[in-house]
């Protein structure tokens, strides 16, 4: 048995699952402090089953770190050091960031000579005195959260590692993020990712402690895992070091949960919440990834994120008097007091579907006097919003199954153009939590290949095999492992043919007993 929890912006969902069977599930409001919402959810699960059985693991998906960046809160000051001068003059770390988040991270931006060129030669000699001055300045300013980037560190991370070592000698309490650990080629994006990660670390420590404390209150001593963007899990210690890797795990979990609930691997998934509908695409059971450089709170990064289109249609979306305009304003979690059916005075999307007899929520008599034309118009607007955006997200003209999940799924009509079938599975309201509870195992391999001596196809296969092996030994079920990422970086160390190949695979966990091994 395991517990899956998803902390969203509006709701905190939890499920208790036994294999693929859902034993209990619940939906609570997310509290301002997050924790009481989680406790309420655990309490609710406990009520449903009497006594919580011993669980093997708790899997948690949380938007807290993304939200912290988007809302510019809980962010620690960061010293960002780039090793790459004399290139990039006039473009210090933090260039191009929105002003408010740049301010939140402080003005600690440093540039030092060094790094590497594409051909493996040093970009510039390092300057010992300059390095000393930089470290002394960071120490004097009392900055402990540090991001280090260097030119071509995905090919040669030596300068980042060496500088980190020197900083730790001078500032033993420093928490350092190295860019090559969080990103790929693309110095600026990788540096941005490292800066965000460094800025979130103190918050991550508090979040993990709080969650572990909450679990202890319920007598749960099993390991805590947190979802990453790609749907795989990381253990609590890893989250403290790499909180940024949780970005966008919410949509990933909701898509993975939809696949689990329906058994369908290729579909459009519409997650209708209180404020937005998030439309994503499942391909082979995994979220389709975004092609674009991903902005997190206005900061350009190169994280791999699911391709999600968010539209302003949710259960709490405010409807105009004539019904022709819906959202993006929403009453959000105040739905239960402000919507007409709950005795409030705001016309929301939920009121419309109740008035139309499509859903039984609150007191239907409160919307009985709504003008029929308002209801008709609003239903047409909602249909158009969903159909237009589903069409934009669809891989091609072929109709695809559309899976509706989330608490607001009642808003969707019984049929949608472009949908080969419209599914609203049981427990779809807690798809995110179910997605979190699915244990996915990742595997990664990195090899160096000389394409003049080994055909590229052969080398790729070798890397894939190696990654699959890692996933299997981590507990992955043989037949479920699939390649999710292939990255080739030419490393021509004066020699024009060596390429670094990095392959990432994920698969389902073969059995729960292996979870501990993975931890």
């Amino acid at each position: 048995m395991r517990i899956g929890i998803d902390v969203g912006g509006t709701h905190t969902d939890a499920v208790l699952v036994d294999g693929t069977r859902i034993v209990a599930s619940c939906k609570e409001l997310t509290s301002a402090d997050v924790l009481s919402g989680v406790k309420a959810a655990l309490h609710n699960l406990q009520e449903q089953v009497g006594i919580l059985p011993p669980v093997d693991a708790v899997m948690l998906g949380t938007t807290q770190f993304t939200n912290a960046v988007v809302e510019r809160r809980e962010l620690a000051e960061v010293a960002a050091i780039r090793i790459g001068l004399p290139s990039g003059r006039g473009l210090p770390p933090g260039t191009g960031w929105p002003e408010d988040i740049r301010e939140a991270l402080g003005e600690g931006a440093y540039a030092l000579p060094g790094g590497f060129l594409y051909d493996g030669r040093p970009l510039a000699p390092e300057d010992n005195a300059e390095t000393e001055r930089c470290i002394a300045d960071i120490a004097a300013k009392g900055l402990a959260n540090i991001a280090i980037s260097s030119a071509f560190s995905p090919a040669n991370a030596e300068p980042e590692l060496r500088l980190a070592e020197r900083i730790l000698e001078a500032i033993p309490e420093a928490r350092i993020t190295l860019s090559h650990q969080v990103g790929r080629l693309g110095l600026l994006e990788r540096e941005n990712a490292a800066m965000l990660n460094a800025s979130l670390k103190p918050f991550a420590v508090r979040v993990v402690e709080a969650f572990e404390g909450a679990l202890q209150e319920f007598g749960i001593t099993s390991p805590l895992f947190i979802s990453q963007n790609d749907g795989t899990l990381m253990d609590a210690k890893f989250v403290r070091d790499f909180p940024a890797l949780t970005f966008s795990s919410g949509p990933t979990n909701s898509l993975r949960g939809a696949a689990r609930l329906t058994g369908i691997d290729d579909a459009i998934v519409v997650d209708i919440g209180g404020t937005t509908s998030d439309i994503g695409v499942l391909r082979g059971g995994f979220p389709r990834e975004s092609n674009r450089a991903v902005d997190v709170g206005g900061v350009r990064t190169n994280f791999r994120m699911p391709d999600i289109m968010a539209i302003g249609l949710g259960g709490g979306s405010i409807v105009s008097e004539d019904g022709r305009t819906i959202g993006p304003q929403s009453v959000g979690h105040r739905l239960v007091t402000e919507a007409l059916v709950f005795g409030g005075s705001t016309l929301t999307a939920t009121d419309i579907v109740v008035a139309a007899g499509m859903a039984d929520v609150g007191d239907a008599s409160k919307v009985a006097q709504l003008a029929e034309v308002t209801v008709t118009n609003a239903l047409a607007t909602m249909r158009a919003m969903l159909e237009d955006n589903i069409r934009l997200m669809k891989p091609d003209k072929q109709p695809l199954p559309v899976v509706l999940v989330g608490g607001g799924a009642i808003l969707a009509p019984k049929d949608l153009s472009g949908a080969s079938q419209l599914l609203s599975p049981e427990n779809s309201g807690v798809a995110n939590a179910i997605g979190a509870s699915i244990a996915l195992v990742g595997g990664e391999a990195e090899i160096f290949a000389d394409f003049r001596k080994e055909a590229r196809e052969v080398a790729l296969e070798r890397a894939k095999d190696q990654a699959r092996g890692v996933a299997v030994s981590a507990g992955g079920a043989q037949g479920t492992i699939r390649v999710t990422e292939i990255e080739e970086t030419p490393i021509p160390y004066m020699d024009n043919g060596v390429t670094r190949i990095r392959v990432k695979v994920v698969g389902d966990l073969a059995s729960l007993s292996t979870l501990e091994v993975q931890a």
Binding site: G84, S87, R89, Y118, L123, G186, L187, E289, N291, L392
Partner: protein, 355 residues
């Protein structure tokens, strides 16, 4: 006609220039960041129509040269465009009256703007390619017989090298070797010419076209298919031929290596139409051709622009990855490259594209 390029226009120009870059031209994001910092520091840049240029004006072409992949890690510097113009002026003993871009495609559309703003020298609305192409020999300036040198190259560390190799066929490998030896990217100033000479060979008004193109890409919504008609209209009446969405599909393979100073590679795109053969896109810094089975469905001198299908947003060759869903646009080439001289200059590249 005189216009100003202000800070708020740079995002539009960068987006339009990326669309015209046919996959090459370097990452416009970095050049745009650089241009923004430049215009913040120096104020707006002045742009003049080619016709507004005096026949006896002294114009030089500037831009970056090298392998775009390297610029993902070797960042540009805000001051380098102005420094290379100054180094050129010092070398020839004359300050240019106007600057013009090597190529509108990608980063090279933006680099000259920083120099124009910093040195208060106007930039001519137009360029020497109307797109991006991999070699100096392929600029319309070279096709018109203008000598590339005297020329000046500046590396990332500020080292200057002067070149006196007036035969463009001989100059091209020399400037490229300079870039490759200095980290893979350098900036250069070359093709000193008169206003009359420039007017005879420039691909005109591409700066203003890329601004309109970018403004549309950035404001509108819709996927590649939805946007086809509006994009086609933007090219109507321009120096370009027709725009058409020729295919869409999924990138199933992409490989590239730095060979002799170029990103050389091939992408395989599985067609979104069931049962159709996969497409092979040949890349040498830019997208050269699209082949489906035996059929060549687009080929140089056509412009081939690969976009993110969902947004219609152009994707540079170095950002193309396994798993991306893309649309492929073909745009008719300006007559500069469909003329016998133009085709002759692209002969070798067309042969690569067709092979």
């Amino acid at each position: 006609m005189t216009n100003q390029i202000t800070l708020d226009m740079l995002d539009d120009i960068a987006a339009g220039a990326a669309f015209l870059a046919t996959g090459g031209g370097g990452d416009p994001y970095l050049a745009c960041l650089c241009a923004k910092e430049g215009l913040k520091a120096y104020g707006p840049a002045t742009v003049i129509a080619p016709d507004a240029l005096a026949d006896d004006a002294f114009v030089i072409a500037i831009g970056g040269v090298g392998a775009p992949t390297t610029s993902l890690e070797l960042l540009p510097s805000v001051d380098e465009a102005a420094r290379v113009v100054e180094a050129y002026a010092e070398h020839v003993g004359r300050r240019p009256d106007a600057l013009v871009s090597f190529e509108i495609g990608g980063a090279n559309s933006l680099i000259p703007m920083v120099a124009a703003a910093a040195l208060d020298i106007p930039l001519v609305d137009g360029d020497g390619m109307g797109r991006a192409l991999p070699e100096a020999t392929m600029m319309t300036y070279a096709i018109a017989g203008i000598a590339p040198t005297p020329a000046v190259g500046l590396d990332y560390a500020g080292n200057v090298e002067r070149f006196d190799v007036p035969d463009v066929q001989a100059y091209e490998p020399v400037i490229r070797r300079f870039a490759m030896e200095r980290g893979g990217m350098a900036v250069s100033a070359e093709f000193g010419m008169s206003g009359a000479e420039l007017k005879a060979c420039i691909v005109p008004e591409t700066v203003s076209l890329s601004q309109r193109l970018g403004a549309y890409l950035r404001s509108g919504e819709g996927n590649a298919e939805d946007r086809e008609l509006s994009l086609a209209k933007l090219f109507e009446g321009s120096i370009y031929g027709q725009l058409e969405l020729i295919a869409s599909g999924l990138v199933t393979d992409y490989t590239s290596t730095v060979v002799g100073g170029y990103d050389v590679g091939q992408a395989v795109i599985e067609s979104s139409v069931a049962g159709e053969l996969p497409m092979k896109v040949s890349v040498k810094n830019e997208y050269l051709s699209v082949r489906q089975g035996e059929a060549l469905i687009a080929c140089l001198p056509d412009l081939i622009t690969i976009v993110d299908f969902e947004t219609g947003w152009p994707i540079n060759a170095e950002r193309l990855r396994f798993g991306m869903r893309v649309g492929i646009f073909r745009i008719g080439s300006p007559e500069h490259y469909t003329s016998p001289e133009g085709l002759a200059c692209l002969k070798d590249l067309i042969a690569v594209a067709q092979s």
